[in-house]
Symmetry: C2
Subunit: 309 residues, 2 copies
Amino acid sequence: MALEVNEKIREGWVADIRDLQDRICSALEQSDGKARFREDVWDREGGGGGRTRVIGNGDVFEKGGVNTSVVFGEVTQPMRDQLKIEGDRWFACGLSLVLHPQNPFVPTVHCNYRMFEMADRNGKITDRWFGGGADLTPYYLFEEDAIHFHRTHKEACDRSDAALFPEFKKECDRYFVNHHRNGERRGIGGIFYDHKRANGDRSDAFWIELAHACGDAFLPAYLQIVERRRNMPFTGEHKHWQEIRRGRYVEFNLVHDRGTLFGLRTNGRTESILMSLPPTVRFEYDHQPDKGSAEELLLNVCLQPRDWV
Amino acid sequence: MALEVNEKIREGWVADIRDLQDRICSALEQSDGKARFREDVWDREGGGGGRTRVIGNGDVFEKGGVNTSVVFGEVTQPMRDQLKIEGDRWFACGLSLVLHPQNPFVPTVHCNYRMFEMADRNGKITDRWFGGGADLTPYYLFEEDAIHFHRTHKEACDRSDAALFPEFKKECDRYFVNHHRNGERRGIGGIFYDHKRANGDRSDAFWIELAHACGDAFLPAYLQIVERRRNMPFTGEHKHWQEIRRGRYVEFNLVHDRGTLFGLRTNGRTESILMSLPPTVRFEYDHQPDKGSAEELLLNVCLQPRDWV
């Protein structure tokens, strides 16, 4: 299938991503009730820029960011070597968000929807692909929350094709893994897809529509969980466990996450990339939850992913 | 120069490294006065093992480890690809320590002395090299401490060759860099060397003697600084800044440190490798110290390394 080379795909994608950012930030501020997003608009040396919005010290959100960026440039030799990218020029536009709540019973969440294009020296687009996903990182397991988050995303995927969700859930469990910790996942799943190209029945429009549906699913998937858990009383021990698990989040993001490493290696804006790191973190030698505890239960579902729907 | 293939080099190195571990742990316990090292002896699937000793919640040391390991195995394809290692079998033995003090006026310290060997299928040694170093990560700058740490290591190096210290200081400033943060160093320097082989006047014995001298320099270099600073009163703001800077320590170790990545990729013991991570850490979006503050002064010497002796 020939690539659609008109500018409309790119323009439409950028506009949709920015609109999604606005809607999500507005709903999160309303949910938090206290904190407001701070916006930093930045330019990238080499091409493009972004709109970073961060929130912190809220009633719900201890730290978080909802970022969009539109970045492009020449493919450099380190990119060819380290990122296995082919072509002369690259373009990327996406939204990426991470929210770290105060209350250890409210899960951390991440989602990201992105489009990449490669072009030759003359600017002719030679490749285009889409990626995205949303994953949940609870500190304590509430099965109804896990089911709700997955079901909401399943319904969004099913509108495009019922075959997608099972594949994306599996990919999510395969991607967010701390390989240096016996395959422990950073959370309990969600959806993840990457390198999705126009192919057969699935046009660019198919993948764009999917990203719309999944992007729109984020707020209903997450905010219902926030409402259920935000007022649950917690102790210093619950907070301690949250900070230990946040340490695993840091390990995944800095050692394994392709998005983070891509950003740091392509001269991305470090503060925007690393806004994903949790506000307070603990690293303890050989920390083990007590046998039969709620903490151990959570750890076990990170070690042995479950199908929630 | 033909490699000395007798077992004595290896045996001697292992014995010396273990002896150094014993002496350092004993002196650190005495300095701390409260905490004791816990020892975990472990075997590595694939070959070898180690002796991990960790300390925590002390009067001086909030978290730390003094580890030795003797590990070996077959060179795997991922090692060839990612670590650019050639040969059939590898052997490594070293000591690695990191100490994170409670008091933000006491610096974090790291040192590491190691020997690698490569061998062919028949066990014949085809290559041998030495590496090592010690570096200081203060949260507040005390010039006399920086000078003392460097002078003590300079004197140790000078006993082998006065040309070494200037080279090793430069290498240290070149190695411990958060490249994604405009070249910010994780600390204020020390010494670093790697891939040192028998060559010309410098035999294996030369590099072993150097590691002895530098290893022996650690206690006098560091404990005098501990004694000067351990009882200085500090506030929550000082602790906050320490935790922000510890975040940069985490970033360096997980994104850039060759030793950490080598360990995680060669199926090393994760808990022993990641004992280097600080106990409590903060990540804040776009944190900037106040103009003219003691915090900014420290940041500036991390951005612009100085020669301290």
